[in-house]
């Protein structure tokens, strides 16, 4: 029942053919999709895995003795195994399936932090974070009387390492840090930061939403305690995600939601929660989406994360090289180590207007605050225009972006 995979490794130059959504006209122009950091398009193998499951194998999981239920469970749990392998978790019990990064982080905030935090305790994040790695901590700090503290970033969009280090004290109970900034593309030097935090006994959650699509992630090598990510940023369906957590921590945490599947036994005097990872998976899950998520892992592995990384890096270099030649451009986010995401401004054209003009020419970019208002405030901006690349983009796409920017300059001349 799992989708057929090519035996030979997929050539990255032909990957574009695997993505039906890319082959359409938008406003009379061939689509150039430069918004993968918001949500990536899906390859046919993912779309078909979902549809095939719905047509042939659907039933509720974990609950039935009949054949369809067994098939659905095998496919669903098979996706968990793929995800375990994908991030090199030491056990499948550490792979909690969620509806996305946001839910994964809220789970940790509520199940791990809420019982733990006391007034006087601190949660530490950085100015780079996405709202999903800010607001859950604001909520739990308000609920517990703990304090949220924030490490600053420099003008290139890099976390100020010295100041981050100074903020790490024994008052800090958790460090929440992004792997890659979705707004600026900054890749944080996680291994070093995590090592410093762990030296002080600080629990570390990594928001990996923008990490997994671009590089090989090995949670054991990273040394963090929690790693959260979403299916839809890595060419899978929305509404799927993972919280990876160390078994010893997950084991101690109370359940997050109550319901079917997360219990072994329910009575009105006494309820016994299920084992990991099921303790954290209440209710009927997103079965089809998760199976598609597994297919996305297969796809990424067939292309090879090393190949993707290299391809995207050279494209990003090309994009930066071209952008700086555009009259009136200002790059926002120029970290030494950057993923294939680039924010910029053009003259005094508001990003929203720029987005419309690019869209009019078939070029899809993201404009605005990118769900990272604090970092926008840090740069004194209401927002930026952001071009983000996926494995399917090419230098032609960049050229189209550049000429669309020239047109925008004319309209606003």
């Amino acid at each position: 029942m799992s989708q057929p995979r090519l035996n030979s490794p997929t050539d990255i130059a032909t990957c574009r053919d695997d993505f039906p959504a890319l082959h359409q006209e938008v406003n009379g122009h061939a689509l150039v999709y430069l918004d993968s950091a918001a949500s990536a398009q899906q390859p046919t193998t993912v779309i078909d895995a979902v549809a095939r499951y719905q047509r042939e194998d659907h039933a509720n999981v974990h609950r039935g003795v009949h054949t369809l239920s067994h098939r659905a469970t095998e496919l669903y749990e098979g996706a968990r195994d793929k995800l375990r392998d994908f991030v090199n978790a030491s056990s499948r019990t550490e792979i909690v399936l969620t509806s996305g990064t946001t839910e994964s982080i809220n789970l940790v905030a509520q199940s791990y932090c809420r019982p733990l935090l006391q007034p006087g305790d601190q949660v530490l994040i950085t100015w780079l974070e996405h709202h999903s790695n800010i607001v859950p901590w604001q909520l739990v700090c308000e609920q517990t009387g703990a304090e949220l503290i924030v490490a600053p970033v420099n003008d290139r969009g890099e976390v100020e390492r010295d100041q981050l280090r100074d903020l790490m004290t024994e008052r800090v109970k958790l460090l929440g840090i992004g792997h890659v900034s979705n707004a600026l593309g900054t890749i944080n030097p996680l291994s070093e930061i995590i090592a410093e935090a762990k030296n002080l006994g600080i629990t570390v959650l990594v928001d990996g939403a923008q990490g997994v699509p671009h590089m090989t992630v090995d949670v054991q090598a990273l040394g963090c305690d929690f790693y959260a990510f979403s299916g839809h940023k890595m060419y899978g369906p929305t509404g799927t995600g993972v919280l990876w957590g160390r078994e010893a921590l997950l084991e101690e945490m109370p359940p997050y939601k109550g319901g079917g599947d997360m219990i072994l036994e329910v009575s009105f005097d006494h309820t016994v929660f299920n084992e990991l990872p099921y303790k954290f998976e209440a209710g009927t899950p997103n079965i089809a989406g998760t199976i598609g998520f597994g297919a996305a892992v297969d796809y990424l592995q067939s292309v090879g994360l090393e190949n993707i990384h290299e391809h995207e890096k050279s494209l990003h270099d090309y994009m930066v090289h071209k952008l700086v030649d555009v009259d009136g451009i200002r790059l926002i986010g120029t970290a030494a180590d950057q993923a294939s995401v680039q924010s910029f401004l053009l003259n005094d054209i508001h990003p929203h207007d720029l987005g419309t003009i690019l869209d009019h020419q078939g070029v899809a970019v993201r404009t605005g605050h990118h769900c990272a208002m604090p970092v926008m405030q840090r740069f004194g901006l209401p927002g930026t225009t952001r071009a983000s690349l996926g494995l399917y983009n090419s230098s032609d796409d960049i050229d189209r972006l550049i000429s669309a920017l020239e047109k925008a300059r004319q309209v606003f001349a």
Binding site: H352, G355, T356, G368, V411
Partner: protein
């Protein structure tokens, strides 16, 4: 689609009048003596403005101002709004809200503008009708106007 068509549609959206009002918004000021005020937020793109009204005891709007930042469409629309509603009665101003938002969203073409008000200039905003994701920018200030005149509201969003 040929390039000239391309351009004409874009020029329809970014008419000179719009670009002019966006660059030099009229009545761009805080009114310290405002009797009514409301905020408008468009969470999609971060457009954010505050509208100030001075309403006299006869329910006439005697002064209008706004502050904020946003795209050309939202700034121009706010600027045009201030020119339009100054000197109107509260009732007429709110009728303009209905007429303008109805026209831009094509939802309620039957809301007529008050007789004594000339909305011709506001036709400059009509280009957004071909750009559905921009309609909210054009209506933001008008929603803020409506909210300012409604004592139960203080923030208008375009969701």
């Amino acid at each position: 689609m040929n390039a000239s068509h391309d351009n004409s549609e874009l020029q329809e959206l970014y008419r000179d009048l719009i670009l002019d009002h966006a660059r030099k918004p009229r009545n761009f000021k805080r009114l310290d003596n405002a009797t009514h005020t409301a905020q408008g937020i468009n969470p999609l793109c971060g457009d954010k403005l505050r509208l100030y009204l001075c309403v006299d005891p006869n329910d006439r709007i005697i002064e209008v101002g706004f502050e904020g930042s946003g795209c050309a469409i939202s700034m121009a629309s706010a600027s045009l709004l201030t020119e339009t509603v100054e000197d109107l009665s509260v009732e007429d101003a709110d009728a303009c809200f209905g007429a303008v938002t109805g026209r831009l969203t094509r939802q309620s073409t039957d809301i007529a503008a008050p007789r004594n008000v000339d909305l011709t200039k506001l036709k400059a905003l009509d280009g957004v009708r071909e750009h559905p994701s921009r309609i909210k920018c054009a209506t933001l200030a008008w929603h803020a106007l409506h909210a300012a005149l409604d004592p139960s509201q203080s923030i208008a969003t375009t969701e």
